[in-house]
Symmetry: C2
Subunit: 184 residues, 2 copies
DNA sequence: TAGACAAACGGAGGCGCCTCCGTTTTAGTG
DNA sequence: CACTAAAACGGAGGCGCCTCCGTTTGTCTA
């Protein structure tokens, strides 16, 4: 791929991520192209349909989330890393919710998308939880899938305006529970 | 509702059914309005979104299918009625397949749609099967849900060009199996 | 039957989608 | 460097979506 093509593609994905986050999946593609500083034709060459673009943005989101797990684990104590990551997980769910309509269509078409991403995310959570348990920062008798399950509450809430705040409190509460009775 | 409004609404649904069958859910709404002899504004007043129109067309399709069961039962021997109805069921699946994308969205939004329609359809099949079994035209040791299950094959085939022919043969084969060992 | 008014009609206009193709840029070659 | 072919760019144009509002029609009352 030519250097300019790569640059434009990256810029398009970047702008699309912002636009989808701000305006939902129905954000104007022409606006996205304009903000990326390219013509609409260029956008369509890279991404033949809106769904293609949504998928790339979504995979990028998942990628960022998983990469953050590694960085947080490197830069913070294990329990703090877990908490920060879960707060970021809330953001991820928010964007996933925004992309839901398109994702539903994608998931029925491209079945690898779901298995790819859900595997990656739960893997990231697992390693954070196990590291925290091993270091004694949280109680040892918890399983990563239990924690994931406990986070399930953030899915259920409708799009209330205070959803983010409530989800943040849910994470803190969960962390308190996890730290209770820890060795460290 | 004013008489002219009712007339226009009926005409719109009629034309929409034809258009969706011919061109899929992406059929032009402006074309549908034109063929119904009304302006595009009238279409949008009756059906604020494409999905509203799809839902009404779909319910109408289900309605017609269930009503056909009664009529066929009245006008034909029980086994013939069952066979004719299953042939019509194939058409129904074909249109349902065509509307699939929109229906998927509708089903997640309006949960009564699925329970309403699938209940009605399986009820119609049940009464046809039971009547045929009771009259001795087909073997008595079959359950309506088994027959429905046997028809499952018509779902699986991708949109091959000969799908309709193959489904028709499937129905005939199934009927032969049902008639085998019947009293009458 | 005339008159009034609520309800329905219809299409112009503005916007986004997407295709198509002439123009520009890049990377490789002599 | 100059040249060239391949690749990428960009935006005009055509089409469908949907809203908005001035016009028409049906229905009810006197």
């Amino acid at each position: 791929m030519r250097a300019d093509a790569q640059r434009n593609r990256d810029k398009l994905v970047e702008m699309a991520a912002q636009a989808f986050a701000a305006d939902g999946v129905d954000a104007s593609l022409e606006e996205i192209a304009k903000r990326a500083g390219v013509g609409i034709g260029t956008l369509y060459r890279h991404f033949p349909t809106r769904e293609h673009l949504v998928e790339v943005v979504y995979r990028r989101e998942v990628e960022g989330l998983c990469q953050a797990a590694d960085e947080l684990a490197r830069d913070h104590p294990a329990d703090v890393a877990l908490e920060l990551w879960m707060q970021r997980f809330v953001d991820y769910i928010a964007t996933k919710r925004g992309l839901a309509t398109s994702l539903r269509l994608l998931l029925t078409t491209n079945s690898t998308l779901f298995s790819d991403t859900s595997g990656r995310v739960s893997g990231a959570m697992r390693s954070l939880v196990e590291a925290a348990a091993a270091s004694g920062k949280i109680r040892p008798d918890v399983d990563a899938s239990d924690v994931m399950h406990a986070l399930g509450g953030i899915y259920s809430a409708p799009n209330t305006p205070d959803w983010r705040e409530r989800s943040g409190r849910l994470v803190k509460l969960l962390m308190d529970g996890l730290r209770f009775g820890a060795r460290g």
